[in-house]
């Protein structure tokens, strides 16, 4: 399993450039919004957490659709499917590797973007924390979509469509927890704990669904 994790990481670094394209896209998104909102710093800092979250969400989608497809194309998937180790576990490890390669860099880059958006330190911290906790959920849901996309030769967009509706709760709780950290009356903990719960939930459901789809789509 560790072997699989390391291999996927190595592949992501060596061939995908995954991390960087994600971060760059993320930055592009965040850089463009101020053009829309205008130079109103107050407003910017208000919508900051939302924008950072949306950017992270969209950046994760890039490249997610190839999670299993690359393995299918060169025949590796066949062998992964044959093993005695539960397929769910294999999928889970692949998700972890993908998250490490493309989700984690976003989390690390987010404080920088928070500065761009003129957010307070507390808000930046909150966004980073919620992203750290919430972004794996996006990968896990995405894995289910990617498993479906294996049967489609170019599933890219379709995957995102199938995935995005499910991601909505993650976004809602992530953003509201970030706001709650800054605004006084609202407590931070409830939405944050909800976010944790969602991530744990999808950490189970996502790989399960992906494994089911993979088993059912091999040919």
């Amino acid at each position: 399993m560790i072997a699989l994790y390391l291999r996927d990481l190595k592949l992501a670094v060596r061939s995908g450039g995954g991390a960087l394209i994600g971060v760059l896209f993320f930055m592009t998104v965040v850089a463009v919004i101020p053009f829309g909102v205008g130079p109103d710093l107050n407003l910017l800092s208000r919508i900051g957490p939302a924008i950072v979250w949306i950017g992270a969400l969209l950046a994760t989608l890039l490249g997610l659709d190839r999670l299993f497809q690359a393995d299918r194309d060169d025949g590796s998937l066949d062998i992964l499917l044959m093993q005695e180790t539960p397929l769910v576990l294999t999928v889970f490890v692949k998700c972890l590797a993908h998250w490490t390669a493309s989700g984690l860099p976003l989390v690390i880059a987010s404080p920088l973007l928070g500065l761009f958006m003129n957010m307070e330190p507390l808000a930046i911290g909150a966004v980073m924390l919620t992203l750290l906790v919430g972004s794996p959920a996006i990968t896990f849901i995405g894995a289910a979509g990617a498993a479906v996309a294996v049967v489609l030769p170019r599933g890219g967009l379709l995957v995102s469509i199938l995935v995005l509706p499910l991601v909505v709760p993650v976004l809602i709780f992530g953003v509201s927890a970030s706001y709650a950290a800054v605004e006084d009356p609202a407590p931070f903990l409830p939405p944050f704990l909800f976010l944790v719960a969602i991530t744990l939930f999808f950490a189970v459901i996502g790989p399960l669904a992906a494994a089911l789809a993979l088993r059912n789509s091999s040919d």
Binding site: L4, D73, D74, G75, S76, D78, D219
Partner: protein, 215 residues
């Protein structure tokens, strides 16, 4: 160890490809599948490897007399048309990954990567990225993958495509060694593999007017 296939049939798309195939193999046996293009050889191998669900029937291995039957896939190496190696990683990285990921099946040990490279006749280029190799060299290293992790059953789909005469001989030797150690081999092929007293199963393809879709 015995491998038992019982009344296997399979569909591709909506069509039945073969029906009622049963056979039993035991340690040291080899079976060669032959038949014209499109007759269902690859399909049968994928059913055995658990990659396609059989329409009816089962395929199981029994490790020892009285042991619990297990699905064939858990005891098998499958070498398909594609080599299951990443072009971006070096040969060593690829082989090390499969060795660690697949692991050994009870009752055997995989061999060292360098040693396996020796055995397929390609010493000294394991540090190259896999994508830098010629078609035949790639295929040879895909064979080396069978050696680094032990699995008693080898399921091979046209293993010698792209191999030169030299490699054909090497390959036949590998199979014989594997059989001598109690392994089982099932291979689909269009060329003679040069195996001693192998059983053979000739696929003829289904009679088309017997086709019946599921609905």
């Amino acid at each position: 160890m015995r491998l038992l296939a019982d009344d296997l049939s399979a569909r591709r798309g909506e069509e039945l490809i073969f029906r009622g195939i049963s056979f039993g193999l035991s340690s040291g046996d080899a079976m060669v599948l032959t038949g014209p293009n499109g007759s269902g050889k690859s399909t049968l191998l994928r059913v055995l490897a658990g990659l396609l669900r059989a329409e009816t029937g089962t395929a199981q291995v029994i490790e020892a007399e009285g042991a619990e039957p297990r699905p064939v896939r858990e005891a098998s190496h499958y070498l398909g048309h594609r080599n299951a190696m990443k072009l971006e990683l070096t040969v060593t990285e690829n082989l090390a990954f499969w060795r660690d990921y697949i692991g050994n099946f009870a009752g055997g040990e995989g061999i060292d990567i360098e040693h396996a490279a020796d055995l397929v006749g390609l010493t000294g280029i394991t540090h190259l990225p896999y994508g830098y190799l010629s078609a035949g060299q790639q295929r040879r290293f895909a064979m080396a993958k069978l050696l680094v992790a032990h699995r008693p059953v080898w399921i091979l789909d046209e293993p010698t495509a792209a191999l030169d005469a030299d490699a054909d001989a090497i390959f036949a030797r590998l199979i014989e060694t594997h059989r001598a150690q109690g392994g089982l081999v099932i291979a689909a092929t269009h060329q003679p593999l040069g195996l001693r007293d192998a059983r053979s199963l000739v696929m003829t393809g289904f009679e088309y007017d017997e086709l019946e879709a599921r609905l």
